[in-house]
Symmetry: C2
Subunit: 366 residues, 2 copies
């Protein structure tokens, strides 16, 4: 089979995420992928990226998503930019019946996500979303053990995380996260990936209740040396507490995510308690889609000394999980594709969290 021809939106010469997470895997598998087109904010910027990453002189460079989408030499459009831009960039690709790989969150809100998911179904295009925590070896091991009944019946689960973003200060590149309407914040990104992992391992929630807060209504934007450049108003939340009921078995799931970094070693801590034993997943960062957590198991009643780490392949860099998503998108590996419809369900869960927070009620999203 010929390699899939990728039209990449968001790979820039001075960017970091796309270059560090997508590019290494794509370039490792020339049998599967070929980047044939780039779209950036300007043609010059796209050309600069082609040169920097040595993509080859035949890569087409564009400054608008419509041209990229119309290029007959593009099979699949990759969207790796800020969330507020997603809808505007995805629509032309869907209209042109191109396959799509979009990073999570799929869109800035549930309404956009619904529209894009419906259109992807109508257009019958392959559609993939980067909810890549599901590809992490510890998360996959947890799912396997729960499914095999190694924990017995699930009693409950508790997850604590610190979201890195939206803490006391923020770098200029993340300033846009301060505005809730941009849809890229503590709830949607770090907590969103983590809640997706929770539901992947334990199943969805029949209902949930949530309390969100914006405890720091302003945010200092700082440069690399910590110098305050400006102070901006913040409407996005910096604290989330969600409690849900697991549809499989009825266990109680509690998730607490806070902005910034933890000073106490609780950047990511997740217990899954069952009648036969408990799993503990711990990691150095609340962005578990990027940072690998360890996984430990203790049989019920055995006591703390019996809490033993389970060896799994460590996903030691940012690119690991993303690479597995790419493999899955190409029908390789056992990961399974996370499609727009799966992302839509997660968007609906987040919408239920917002509704519950506002109204003080339990909300459903299934």
């Amino acid at each position: 089979m010929a390699p899939t021809k990728l039209g990449f939106i968001g790979l820039s010469a001075d960017g970091q995420w796309a270059a560090n997470s997508h590019l290494p895997h794509i370039q490792k598998r020339p049998d599967l992928f070929r980047i044939t087109a780039l779209q950036n904010s300007s043609k010059a910027s796209a050309e600069k990226a082609v040169q920097k990453y040595k993509l080859g002189g035949d890569v087409a460079c564009y400054d608008d998503p419509e041209s990229l989408a119309r290029d007959p030499n593009v099979d699949m459009v990759v969207v790796s930019v800020k969330v507020p831009e997603h809808y505007r960039l995805i629509r032309p690709a869907l209209d042109a019946k191109k396959d799509l790989f979009v990073e999570w969150p799929l869109a800035a809100n549930v309404k956009e996500a619904e529209e894009l998911t419906a259109l992807a179904a109508t257009q019958k295009v392959k559609n993939v979303v980067g909810l890549q925590a599901r590809q992490n070896p510890s998360i996959r091991k947890a799912k396997e053990m729960v499914a095999n009944g190694e924990l017995g019946e699930i009693l409950g689960t508790t997850m604590l995380g610190s979201g890195m973003v939206l803490g006391a200060t923020e770098a200029p590149v993340y300033e846009y996260m301060a505005k809730i309407e941009h849809g890229a914040n503590l709830i949607t990104i770090p907590a969103g990936h983590a809640m997706d992992a929770l539901c992947y391992v334990l199943g969805e929630m029949t209902e949930l209740q949530a309390k969100l807060a914006t405890r720091r209504p302003t945010m200092d934007i700082v440069d690399a040396s910590g110098q305050v450049l400006r102070t901006v108003n913040k409407t996005a939340h910096d604290w989330m507490s969600v409690t849900g009921t697991l549809e499989r078995g009825g266990g109680v799931a509690t998730m607490v995510y806070q902005g910034g970094l933890s000073d106490t070693g609780k950047d990511f801590y997740w217990e899954i308690n069952g009648t036969k034993g408990t799993l503990v997943l711990e990691g150095p960062n609340g962005h578990i889609q990027m940072f690998h957590p360890t996984i430990k198991f203790v049989p019920a009643g055995a006591g703390r000394a019996q809490l033993k780490e389970i060896p799994v392949e460590p996903a030691s860099d940012f690119a690991y999980n993303v690479g597995k998503v790419w493999d899955a998108a190409m029908g390789e590996g056992d990961g399974g594709v996370v499609a727009f419809k799966d992302a839509l369900l997660r968007h609906k869960m987040i919408d239920a969290i917002y509704r519950s927070n506002e109204k003080g009620t339990r909300e459903s999203y299934l």
Copy 2:
């Protein structure tokens, strides 16, 4: 001042709690206290306790609360028995205008607690409740640091606990806890004491939302060797997740309590996160009214390596906190008396938890 003459209900020769927690302190301070009367289920049982604890031949022995309450040689009645008995034993003492020291929970439900609190006010008697986690040195230190602004503004707080009781199995002595109408269970006792400590340190909650579960609807009653004696139905809850909004500042408080003992080292873990720093209280057991937690502090942004234990006097045995309550009741120490009205507020909080769980709404209790 002459020692206060105590009429003790619940001090039995084969009992443990009253003998281990109340008696040592009472006997250490003959200048403050004298036990002048005992009431047990039978006169013989009371006489046996008098002998065993060498209380003296002049201690009056009773088998009913009315006789103890009417004894002119009793100033204060002490109630240290199972919660379902409280109301029946407290009423006669109040009717006889005797001062009272009652263990937490004050009563089996909020209705009983309301009636007893109103009657104590009418009768103008001194009334003390053993919500003794407030006397723990680490809890008091946390309150002091929060009040002094050493944590800055409180962003949120998260508490995880395992309640020892209502786990996979239970000893015969605690079998009565299985029935929710008895009012002595995971929510009221271990979580109740812990939530009281949380509110003592951080203030009450303007509203809360709760999810409770009975994940093990039956419970094996086992003897000391672990042999199953019988299996009983359980209506009390074995999982609690509560999220509240702190009235001072609006931080988000999340508490998760589960039945049994933790196998993961999370029997008691409590973070209090502020803009200037974070406190971590950790203990070997979710019953923090009995088991002493350590207290550690880390300044904001300093990182895990800077999490330093704060030296406080260790409350190294069960009796320490109870002793401090006795001191406070006698106007000694700086602990302040926890009265029926304070216990009633905590009963109302627990009632709000039950209402929220049932209706799926946010509830107030202030």
